[in-house]
Point group: C2
Chain length 229, copies 2
DNA sequence: CGACTCCTTGACAGCGTTCAACAGTAGTGG
DNA sequence: CCACTACTGTTGAACGCTGTCAAGGAGTCG
């Protein structure tokens, strides 16, 4: 829960994040905050007063059931915007996965009046919403109809793409987070990674958060249900 | 695949659907089409040239995997609007579940130019998009983290709510559709319904598409993970 | 070094799927 | 009207994927 308002950033004055500027206007108030690992950023049901963009680090949004079952809706990586809602309340909780710097700007109310809205803003929000929708709709098929191995492969390819296909993928999240994202147990995630490793499709570094995709083609085939069994 | 353009509607000239009028303008061209049971309305990947509203009947949108696994994204009931996309292409396929009348209107391009857009339209689209997003986000938790019985109970309550809590729920879809919506096998759906029936929570009519919810409270408890086992 | 967290791996159980048989319903045509 | 067929849904039995429980290894940090 350590939240520190960072008046004098350690880095040089950063550029206003492009995504946020479109959503808030150039002159909007914004700040960068630092959240330590595991810190809550906002809660489901809380008024959605701000919108957020990851500077460094990573965040997760999730829902909980009363008995503790958790479904992670999305991971957010540097540059990603989150917390944008069309209603007044947040529909998910959000936490920092690791120590994370977040740019925070005041949220525009989206439906203020008949012609009080800002078209550019609404369009930005629409684009963002549409991105979110696409992502979630892909998750549907994944969670509803794909096997454990297919889900793990999908996850690796998604991270690979979103991190711009680096030589080594450095995962900010733990196995438990991956499991709650994919609707699996953490053991099954671990077994999936081991299976891919044993088949020479990926290579897991000793730190276990670093993964190298040695055969993206085979990985993609697995996602599409063409595991060669 | 029987599609008939219905120039002279059997019923009196129907009112322009409220949802569609906001999305197309009062003077927009529209028609009602009839789709027979199982008929394709549009395909995933097809240009999204129209938007649709159910008059009578029901429709399903879905994605397929190459090996035939299907995930149904949503069911559409009388009054529901579907097929609205923010991009140029449909992201799901759509079929009529039963013989269905659909109102069809031309789609506005959503991002035509810098200030060429229609704010009222964009707002309508935004609201619709937001509804869709909420629905899908609830599905995430359901598919990722809930048990078979919880999913079946959730489905019944969703249909109950959307059909305005009738005395008897008349389901337009088959067990297979419910299964593909909930990420289960059709046998498991059937067993879930039987279990609820045996516990006196629902009553299934002999036609098997008609269900009476005799204990909505218990049903809601099951959805939240409070099955008294 | 010791305590802690995170991850892997194994053994086993259970939930849900698969396979199969059967029953009820609807549609068709004689 | 009935026979025939196709389709849909239910139920049982066995299998198997994934979850649960448990032990141990590996890395981190005080």
């Amino acid at each position: 829960m350590l939240v520190r308002i960072n008046a004098n950033s350690t880095s040089a004055k950063p550029p206003v994040p492009r995504g946020l500027s479109a959503l808030t206007g150039e002159a909007a108030l914004w700040n960068d905050h630092k959240y330590s690992r595991g810190a809550q950023i906002f809660w489901e049901g809380e008024p959605a007063e701000y919108i957020y963009q990851i500077g460094d680090g990573a965040a997760r949004t999730y829902k909980l059931l009363s008995d503790g079952r958790r479904q992670i809706a999305a991971f957010y990586l540097p540059g990603d915007i989150f917390g944008v809602e069309t209603e007044e309340l947040h529909r998910f909780s959000a936490e920092a996965i690791i120590d994370t710097t977040v740019w925070i700007a005041e949220r525009h109310s989206m439906f203020e009046g008949p012609d009080n809205g800002d078209l550019a803003y609404t369009k930005s929000a629409l684009e963002l919403l549409q991105q979110t929708l696409q992502h979630v709709q892909n998750q549907l098929l994944l969670l509803g109809r794909q096997t454990a191995l297919e889900r793990v492969a999908y996850f690796l390819l998604e991270m690979d793409r979103r991190l711009k296909k680096p030589a080594v993928i450095i995962l900010p999240m733990r196995r438990r987070d991956i499991a709650d994202y994919l609707g699996l147990s953490l053991e099954t995630v671990s077994r999936g990674l081991s299976a891919l490793r044993d088949n020479g499709i990926i290579s897991v570094e000793s730190q276990r958060r670093e993964v190298i995709l040695t055969d993206r083609t085979k990985l993609a085939q697995i996602v599409c249900g063409n595991a060669n069994h």
